[in-house]
């Protein structure tokens, strides 16, 4: 028997988790659906003629997913905060890796799929209702002023915006999964109030990054400004007719970008694994 990963054992763990949480999850999904319907109805009341433009649908999808996904991830290992529950969780005969993988399966994959399905279900229903209301106006129909709303694919480029060839939705997704993985780590790290504590830690890290760039790097560099990102710097020289600049090789920028986009996930997941391993009750 493999002591790190055994597919059959992992399936047992996935089934066990579902049997213990199915009621809670079904209710949570229903609550999420209800909240989304309320939000869409509210928008429809505010702006009955054009309630659901592309930006609104994209913002609803990604902001909603960020809030709900991070909250769920921060609660996933909440059992570890109470002695008896933690003992039950840790004494289930499965490896730490399988326990982590179960967390990733539910909190990352299944949540993403369920949230997307709920979003599109509400999106479809509410847009149909909005179109129904619009087309029921005889006066507008006769004047040819019917404005048909359409469902927007949130995984395509919205708003005609393009950033360095990478579609914007990809940035949204990457940021979401990175931040969510930090919340998953937070759920193992902080025995209580893990959502709030992770928020505070992330905020402090963000401020630290800003401080590092704004103060430390600026102090080291000559007078000037960052130009087109963090990898080229324009130097200010009094009386100069041309702007001189320092530019790091392109590959540094490319490598850094991909590291920032895809490097945090494995780091946070690995940290979660080791934190699970060293957890004591």
């Amino acid at each position: 028997m493999n002591q790190v990963f055994d597919f059959k054992r992992w399936l047992l763990l996935v089934g066990k988790h579902w049997s213990e949480n199915s009621k809670k999850y079904t209710l949570s999904l229903a609550a999420m659906l209800a909240l989304m319907v309320i939000w869409y109805s509210f928008v429809l009341l505010l702006e009955p003629r054009n309630p659901y433009p592309e930006e609104m649908q994209v913002a609803t999808y990604y902001i909603g997913m960020a809030i709900a996904g991070c909250l769920y991830a921060s609660l996933f290992f909440a059992d570890l905060s109470s002695g008896p529950r933690a003992m039950h969780f840790l004494s289930v005969p499965a490896s730490h890796f399988e326990k982590l993988l179960t967390g990733l399966f539910y909190a990352v994959i299944l949540f993403f799929v369920c949230y997307t399905l709920i979003f599109y279900l509400v999106d479809f229903i509410m847009i149909s209702i909005a179109n129904g209301i619009e087309s029921s106006s005889e006066a507008r129909r006769q004047a040819g002023l019917i404005y048909e709303k359409r469902m927007f694919n949130v995984f395509t480029q919205p708003l005609g915006y393009n950033h360095g060839g990478t579609p914007l939705y990809l940035y949204f997704l990457v940021i979401y999964f990175n931040v969510q993985s930090a919340f998953l780590l937070g759920s193992v790290y902080f025995p209580s109030y893990s959502f709030i504590k992770t928020c505070i830690v992330l905020l402090l890290l963000f401020l630290f990054g800003v401080l590092l760039i704004g103060t430390v790097l600026n102090g080291l560099l000559p007078d000037g400004w960052f130009h087109q990102g963090l990898f080229s710097y324009a130097i200010y020289e009094e009386g100069a007719t041309e702007v001189r600049g320092v530019r790091l090789p392109d590959w540094v920028g490319v490598v850094s970008k991909y590291l920032a986009m895809y490097g945090f996930l494995p780091i946070f997941w690995t940290a979660t694994y080791f934190r699970l391993k060293e957890k004591e009750v």
Partner: protein, 277 residues
């Protein structure tokens, strides 16, 4: 089966164990006795891999508990004092939790549940504390894990349940199992355990088999003032004086676990002197 060598453990600055060593063999029910806060639960959690030693080694069935490998967890089942089981019906518990234990015996579980008179259709949330405990004990026994750790298992059980517990436990031991019961309610373990280990302030005060105890010590009620005065330990009671004396005549007497426990705590040296002869 369980080999603890020079165990050091502390909760931050509060030292619990400073060099505890202990060997436990299969085929026995060990009674781990001691006052509150002496480290009984901590020892069980160290054996179960829920706490890690600061120093020293613990070997359970050739596994290091702290690694919590699945093969180890299949062989060690713990019934903690404060217990938790998810709020699911018994049937679902068997369907989703039992397959983790390769030697889980459903018939055995059903037998224990019947013995403990647990209603089958109840979910955990609707059960009383005592019922939950009995389900967990039944599950642990039916898992046929080689090591069964029980922390204050009789807490919360009524008189009838305690008697059922002793009956079930007595019938569940086999040569491959090692059962460790930690308790401060020593009376509950009478006629059940076959070895007593008493812990106090992180050290083992006393560690003997019941057979050795009854061979070396005699427990009885006495009205003879001279005998009471010469006893290793005596205690007045309504029936007379309960005394412990050295068993020099090879007579058989019924072990009074509570009396022995008090004697070891209060007059350890005189009791030990009998065993060192």
């Amino acid at each position: 089966m369980i080999d603890i060598q020079n165990l050091h453990f502390a909760y931050k600055k509060k030292k619990v164990f400073t060099g505890l060593s202990l060997k436990l063999q299969p085929g026995h029910i060990y009674g781990l006795l001691g006052k509150n806060g002496t480290g009984k639960s901590t020892l069980l959690r160290n054996i179960a891999g829920m706490l890690f030693p600061d120093q020293g080694k613990i070997n359970v069935l050739n596994y290091t508990p702290g690694e919590r490998k699945p093969a180890f967890l299949q062989e060690v089942f713990m019934v903690p004092e404060e217990l938790y089981f998810p709020d699911i019906p018994l049937e679902q518990l068997l369907k989703y939790y039992a397959p983790f234990y390769p030697r889980f015996d459903r018939e055995q579980f059903e037998r224990y549940i019947t013995e403990f008179e647990i209603p089958r259709d109840n979910s955990f949330l609707r059960m009383s504390y005592g019922q939950k405990k009995k389900v967990l004990i039944s599950f642990g026994l039916a898992s046929n894990a080689a090591v069964l750790l029980m922390d204050e298992p009789t807490n919360g059980l009524d008189i009838m349940s305690k008697s059922q517990f002793r009956k079930v436990m007595a019938g569940s031991l086999d040569d491959n199992k090692c059962i460790i019961i930690s308790t401060h309610q020593v009376k509950d373990l009478e006629n059940l355990i076959d070895r007593i280990t008493i812990i106090d302030q992180g050290h083992i005060l006393f560690d003997q088999t019941i057979e050795a105890i009854t061979r070396k010590l005699s427990f009885r009620i006495s009205f003879d003032s001279e005998e009471v005065r010469d006893a290793l330990y005596s205690e007045s009671s309504l029936r007379g004086n309960a005394i412990i004396t050295a068993n020099t005549e090879g007579e058989e007497s019924k072990l009074d676990l509570e009396l022995l426990y008090k004697a070891i705590i209060l007059k350890r040296e005189s009791i030990e002197s009998v065993f060192n002869r």
